[in-house]
Symmetry: C2
Subunit: 192 residues, 2 copies
């Protein structure tokens, strides 16, 4: 079976979106990648509307099993982090409206999953996601690469989490996304 | 003519919502007030969905001319401010989807408009909004009172802004909400 993950690196000026299909053996294939941009000269309501409509289109077109969103931290300046949080709210609500589970991952988790080191730099993430997805050229801009890396990270982490949980009493500790993976796995087994 | 404003004091745990009708002579009347609450034990996607659906219902039922939302600042701790920003993003996008203009006001602006002092405390705001709206008892909780105060603040500020702008070249500086008020005023004058 394949898990389709839509990754989002939220932002008002550039919101990276990437869709990957990840197989049980961890092989990941890019389905689509893009960036939604809005101008700082636009009003906040207009900017959030553009992002909301774009996410709706991506969810409608690609029908992901789960959405992975970068967890927002305050390492940025205050006005930037507000916009990122507002955009992430809109994106998460769009998935929730469709009953698509949402998982949040920190930048460190993404770096660790993709490069093996939580302290890796952005270039290393871009380089390795290009290799993981067998792409001819690095996805640009960096927000697009980050969205793909988030999606792959989620599938790899959810897969191992679900595998661990099926053998013990820890299934209550699963995130909705991990439950989705575990249920999809169970369904695939029944269908064999 | 009357301007109907839906005010929102955004938050994940308690999101205050208030609707007021404000006449040209600044007389304000409460139409509805309420609070949408979500539990911190719920997942973020579930919490944002509950808020999104509630706002949709309020917009559908009350059909405001404009939405006024409290501008989020970082005076709170980081995790709280993130949730507030995410909720505000969802609320603003809901209005934008319906073509309803959105205006942001700071807590100081609300205090100044309602009490005459930007440094007033919350109790003073609640007390005065109760008097302004001729209510028998103070709206509870504080988030509900804040939402009503935001709505009144917006109408009063937009009204004076529009009045000033019609006499000078400053109309380009109007917010969308102020333009909505100015246009509604012009329409009302033509209709007489």
């Amino acid at each position: 079976m394949t898990l389709r993950v839509l990754g989002v690196d939220p932002g008002l000026t550039r919101c990276g979106i990437g869709v990957v299909d990840v197989e049980r053996n961890r092989r990941a294939t890019m389905v689509a990648v893009g960036v939604v941009g809005t101008s700082p000269e636009e009003t906040i309501d207009r900017r959030l509307l553009v992002i909301a409509e774009a996410i709706d289109e991506w969810l409608e077109l690609h029908k992901p099993d789960v959405m992975a969103v970068e967890r927002v931290f305050s390492q940025l300046n205050v006005s930037t982090v507000m916009g990122v949080a507002q955009a992430s709210g809109v994106v998460i609500a769009a998935a929730a409206r469709r009953g698509i589970p949402v998982a949040l991952h920190t930048p460190s988790e993404v770096k660790a999953a993709v490069t093996g080191s939580g302290g890796a730099n952005k270039d290393a993430v871009t380089k390795l996601i290009t290799k993981i997805l067998r792409l001819d050229a690095p996805p640009k801009p960096a927000d697009a690469a980050d969205a793909l890396a988030l999606a792959v990270t989620h599938a790899w982490r959810a897969g191992s989490g679900a595998a661990a949980a099926t053998t013990g009493p820890g299934s209550n500790a699963l995130t909705p996304a991990q439950r989705a993976w575990a249920e999809a796995e169970a369904k695939a087994r029944r269908g064999r």
